[in-house]
Symmetry: C2
Subunit: 289 residues, 2 copies
C-alpha cells in the first residue's frame, strides 16, 4: 500500500478508530481524515491519535481521499457509500459491515443515467468485514492492534476487477490482518453461524435468566452471555440484513439442542456424553487468541 495515499474513514467508532490508529502508528497513509456525525466523537478520535483531522461534512472529508473506509452501522452503509461515491469520483471504497450480501446487492441496483459515473459499482467498491471487535463501542476503546492476527473477509463479486481485490487485501494485510476471500453470500451464510447466531443465543440466555439468581452466576454464565451486552440497535440492523441465513443457522442449533434435551429427558446418558464429546471436539478446533 503506498504510504503516500490519503485515507478517509467515515464513522470513527471502535473499528474506524482502530483502523485510523493502526494506519498512523504504522505510517501507512499521508493523511487520515475522520468523518463523523458528532464533533465530540471526532475530538475523541483526534485525542486518541486515530485521525489527523476530523469533519462532520462528508463531502469535504472524502474530497481528497484515494481510499475510503465506510465504518458506519450496517443499516446506513448503503447510503454512506453512495454519498462517498458521489462526493469523490476517483476514490476506491471499502466498508467494515458485519453483513455483505444485501449491501453489495443494493449497491448494484440500477441508477439513473446521469448518476451512472457516480455509482459505487464493483469497479470502485469492494466489501470487507474485519472479524474483530468488542462489546464496547466508541473511539475511546480504539486500539492500534485490534486487527493484528485477525481475519478480514474481503468479498469480491463476479465482475470485481482483480486490481481492486489486491488493493483491499494489501490494505488489510498492512494492518496486520489475514485476508480471506468469499462471495458476499458465502460470507453471510458463514457469519450467520459463527457470529450472528451466537449473539441471538447469548441474548436469549441472558433474557431467560431470573434476575434473583444472577448472584449465583459465575464465569460460565459470564462467558456464554458476554456478547449480549453488545449494542442492541446495531445488532437489530445486522439481524435484519441476514434474516434467512440466521434462521437457517438457528434451525441447525435447534436440532442439536433438541437432541440433547431428548437424551436428558430419556435418561440416555450414553447419548448425552457422545453429544458433549462431539461439542468439545469442535470447540477445541477453535484457537483462542
Amino acid at each position: 500500500m503506498p504510504a503516500s495515499q490519503r485515507v478517509a474513514i467515515v464513522g470513527v467508532g471502535l473499528i474506524g478508530g482502530s483502523i485510523g490508529l493502526a494506519l498512523r502508528e504504522r505510517e501507512l497513509a499521508a493523511e487520515v481524515v475522520g468523518v463523523g456525525h458528532r464533533a465530540s466523537s471526532l475530538e475523541k478520535a483526534i485525542a486518541r491519535g486515530a485521525i489527523d483531522r476530523g469533519t462532520t461534512n462528508l463531502v469535504e472529508g472524502v474530497a481528497q481521499a484515494d481510499w475510503v473506509v465506510a465504518a458506519t452501522p450496517v443499516g446506513s452503509l448503503v447510503d454512506t457509500i453512495h454519498a462517498i461515491a458521489a462526493a469523490n469520483e476517483r476514490c476506491t471504497i471499502t466498508d467494515v459491515g458485519s453483513t455483505k450480501a444485501e449491501i453489495c446487492s443494493r449497491l448494484r441496483a440500477p441508477v439513473s443515467p446521469d448518476a451512472w459515473q457516480k455509482r459505487p459499482g464493483p469497479a470502485r467498491f469492494i466489501g470487507s468485514h474485519p472479524l474483530a471487535g468488542d462489546h464496547r463501542t466508541g473511539p475511546e476503546h480504539a486500539r492500534a492492534d485490534l486487527l493484528e492476527g485477525r481475519t478480514v473477509v474481503v468479498t469480491p463479486e463476479d465482475d470485481t476487477p482483480p486490481g481492486l481485490v489486491e488493493r483491499a487485501s494489501e490494505f488489510w494485510e498492512a494492518l496486520g490482518a489475514t485476508v480471506e476471500l468469499l462471495s458476499p453470500e458465502e460470507h453471510d451464510r458463514a457469519l450467520a453461524a459463527t457470529s450472528h447466531l451466537p449473539h441471538l443465543i447469548a441474548s436469549a440466555l441472558a433474557a431467560a435468566t431470573p434476575e434473583e439468581w444472577l448472584r449465583l452466576a459465575a464465569t460460565g454464565w459470564g462467558d456464554t452471555t458476554r456478547i449480549a451486552a453488545s449494542d442492541p440497535g446495531l445488532w437489530t440492523q445486522i439481524f435484519g440484513q441476514n434474516r434467512q441465513a440466521v434462521r437457517d443457522a438457528l434451525t441447525r442449533f435447534q436440532y442439536a439442542l433438541d437432541a440433547m434435551e431428548t437424551a436428558l429427558g430419556e435418561n440416555d446418558d450414553a447419548t448425552l456424553a457422545t453429544q458433549l464429546t462431539e461439542a468439545k471436539r469442535i470447540r477445541e478446533l477453535f484457537n483462542d487468541t
Copy 2:
C-alpha cells in the same frame, strides 16, 4: 477455623487441589492429607504444594481428620461420603459437588440399625458448592486464589445443626469466599439456570457450527462456546443429577429464543430491538471479575 485441625481432601483435582493450596498457604490446618485414585495425581498435588501427604487408601487418609472435603466427580460423591463417614466416626464432612438435592437426599436414605452411628446424616454432613472452576481440570491447574472473592453455596437441611452451618461457613470464608445459604433444592433450581443450562447451550452451539466455517469464528463465538470444552463425563453426571430443573430452565430459554425468532421472521425490528435491550440490561447486572 482452628488452625490445629486436620483436613483431608478426597479427590485432588482442580478444586480439591486449590482448596489444599489455599489451606496450606494461609496456614489454616495442622495437616492437609490428599486422597486420590492415582498415585500420579497425588504426586502432582504434592509437587504443586496442594497437600502435605497423599494416599490412595481412603480409610487411612481420613482416619485422623477433623474435617473432610469430598471433591470427587458428582456421580461418585454419595459413595465417597459414605466411605468417609464409615472410616472416621468423628469427622465432619462437606463436598464441592455442582448438584446438591439428589446427593443430600440419597445421604438421608434409611440405613441398617448397626450402621446408624456411621451414617453421614445431617449432623455430620453439609453440602457445599464453590462457584469457581475452569474448563481445565487436574491438580496442575490448582490455584491458591481460586476461591478468593467467589461465592460458595452451603446447603443446610431442616435438621442441620446450626453449629455445622457455622463451621462450613467459616471454612469457606477463611479461604476468601463469600457464603450463600440455600436449601439443596433451591441451589439446584438456581444453578440449572446459571450454570447447567449455559453448558448445554454452549455445547449445542459448538456442535451446530459447520467445521469448515470455524476459521471465520472470532471472539464472540469463542466466548459463547468456551465451556463446551469442559469434561463431557463430568457434565453428563451433573445433568443426570439435575434433569428436571435443567429442563425447566431450558423451557424458559426456548420461550425467549422463540420470541426472537418470531420477531426476526416477521421483520419486526422494534420487538427484536426491545428483546436485545432487555438481554443487555440483564447481562449488565452481572459483574465480571
